[in-house]
């Protein structure tokens, strides 16, 4: 019996790693289709987007790099088409991460078809929204917090009058009438490193701009804090939030299918903790009491 407890307490971690891979691969290839409950925060976020009116201006920030894309793509590829499908809404895309432009273009290409006479990004017609008439892509802003502060004070000066592709966007600004952060009706930020904080620090305190924060798991505790403090109107939590949004918006994708593997890994970790404690009580603790090291 001692050797079983010792084995459980000192199991080679490579065995754990191997089982992690096996569980995920099997359940991704053969999902079980278990039901999914929708959290209140995701439903609130959906309702906010659904309530957008014609003429509303939405800023969408892609605080996304490759290390967070796999976690956020479920929510990005359901929230963005949901926003773009709201009639009359004007959208401004921007990013404060160097890789963000890759994912902006990927999103537009996923749901858009090229406009007549155009051959590449950003000239997509996405749910009837045409580039430079209904949406623009401002591009990448290094030193994000300064750029957001500048945009809040004087949007055109802070963001510049050309888009990322060097097109003059002054007619777009004039058409939507944007001058400062006050004119923004909704800010959405998909965050790997806290991009929604830029809106929270520079738009919300002065203009009360509603913010929806789509966060990776690491950022969720801070986001819940800000949500409870009333600074965020909605949050979408990691892959599960993406799966929930996909389900309620109808823009379904792989995040929904991965929920079985997601569940299994959680249960697996709990099992490892239980087994480790069985080994601890059966072997490690008695060994320490007898004068050995832990």
């Amino acid at each position: 019996m001692t050797s079983v407890f010792e084995f459980l307490a000192t199991m080679d971690r490579r065995i754990w790693h191997a089982f992690t891979f096996i569980i995920v691969i099997v359940l991704l290839l053969f999902p079980l289709g278990l039901p999914l409950a929708i959290s209140a925060e995701t439903q609130v976020s959906y309702n906010i987007v659904h309530a957008l009116k014609p003429g509303d201006i939405v800023m969408i920030n892609y605080n996304i790099a490759a290390f967070g894309w796999d976690e956020l793509k479920g929510q990005v590829l359901s929230v963005v088409p949901h926003v773009m499908s709201q009639p009359g809404v004007k959208v401004i895309f921007l990013t404060d991460m160097d890789q963000g432009m890759i994912y902006i273009e990927q999103t537009l290409a996923a749901y858009g078809k090229l406009m007549e006479g155009k051959t590449s990004a950003p000239w997509y017609d996405v749910f009837g929204k045409k580039y430079l008439q209904d949406y623009v892509v401002l591009g990448y802003f290094p030193g994000a917090t300064s750029a957001w502060a500048a945009m809040a004070v004087d949007f055109r000066k802070g963001a510049g009058t050309v888009d990322w592709y060097k097109n003059d966007i002054t007619p777009f600004y004039n058409a939507i009438g944007i001058k400062t952060g006050q004119d923004v009706d909704l800010a959405i930020s998909f965050d790997c490193t806290g991009g929604a904080d830029n809106f929270r620090n520079h738009f919300f305190p002065v203009f009360g701009t509603p913010i929806i924060a789509g966060e990776i798991g690491v950022n969720v505790p801070g986001a819940i804090n800000n949500y409870n403090a009333g600074q965020y109107k909605g949050i979408i939590k990691s892959t599960r939030g993406g799966a929930e949004y996909q389900y309620i918006s109808g823009f379904k994708g792989k995040a929904l299918l991965s929920m079985d593997a997601y569940s299994a890994i959680h249960v697996y970790l709990i099992l490892l903790i239980v087994l480790g404690n069985i080994g601890y009580f059966g072997w490690e603790r008695t060994r320490v009491k007898k004068g050995g090291t832990a």
């Binding site: 290390f67 000066k157 249960v267 903790i273």
Partner: protein, 216 residues
């Protein structure tokens, strides 16, 4: 002239002027030139950050050249890194970001690498949890119990077993976890304010590269 520009006093005066040009327009109605100064300073910081990144590229290149020149262990990897850096830069700037070679390197190396590096942390978390989460004393027991309860809330399957896991886990996330985050937010903000005051009083000039001996 250069002695004046090098001096700690000049840098301190510059820092004070810039910081007040950022603070005052935010809280008080000021004349238009001050508002312009504020918005331009914000843009200055963005543009300076861009040039700082280019310094980083130079530093990385120089480091690898030194490694190759001294034939240090693994110098061949330094050659590979240099090739990749400069092929990306030349392809991206001369030929354009939509050029096949740039997109090839981006899609086959950069994005997979970035995505994978951070997901490796999952495995370290699993092995840490399996090894370290023990019912040793009150604190570690509390930690373990809360971890298990929140994990059960997060796993969609747990709600099928017993739907009580969801409200318990939600409560722990939304109130306990939130309270800790709130504490960290307050404490970090206080620390930031103290740092700002120390910077304004000239005690943190090490941040701008002024050594203690120089400041005397």
């Amino acid at each position: 002239m250069s002695n004046v520009l090098k001096s700690k006093t000049f840098l301190l005066i510059l820092a004070i002027v810039v910081q007040f040009l950022i603070y005052i327009p935010y809280f008080v109605d000021v004349p238009a030139p001050m508002k312009t100064a504020e918005s331009e300073l914000l843009r200055f910081a963005v543009n300076i950050a861009s040039f700082a990144m280019l310094v980083g590229v130079y530093t990385a290149t120089r480091k690898e050249i030194i490694r190759i020149g001294k034939r240090q262990k693994g110098w061949i990897y330094g050659v590979w890194v240099l090739i990749l850096i400069w092929v990306m830069i030349i392809a991206g700037l001369v030929l354009g970001q939509t050029t096949p070679i740039f997109k090839f390197l981006q899609d086959s190396m950069l994005l997979p690498g970035d995505a994978t590096i951070y997901s490796i942390v999952l495995f370290y978390m699993i092995s840490a949890a399996g090894r370290a989460f023990r019912l040793r004393d009150t604190g570690s027991s509390l930690l373990l119990i809360v971890v298990v309860l929140v994990l059960l809330q997060q796993a969609p399957i747990a709600a099928i077993v017993w739907d009580g896991f969801v409200p318990i886990g939600n409560w722990l996330n939304n109130y306990l976890g939130m309270s800790i985050s709130r504490t960290f937010a307050i404490v970090t903000a206080l620390g930031g304010i103290i740092l700002a005051v120390r910077f304004l009083s000239g005690k943190e000039m090490g941040m701008v590269g002024v050594k203690k001996e120089e400041g005397k």
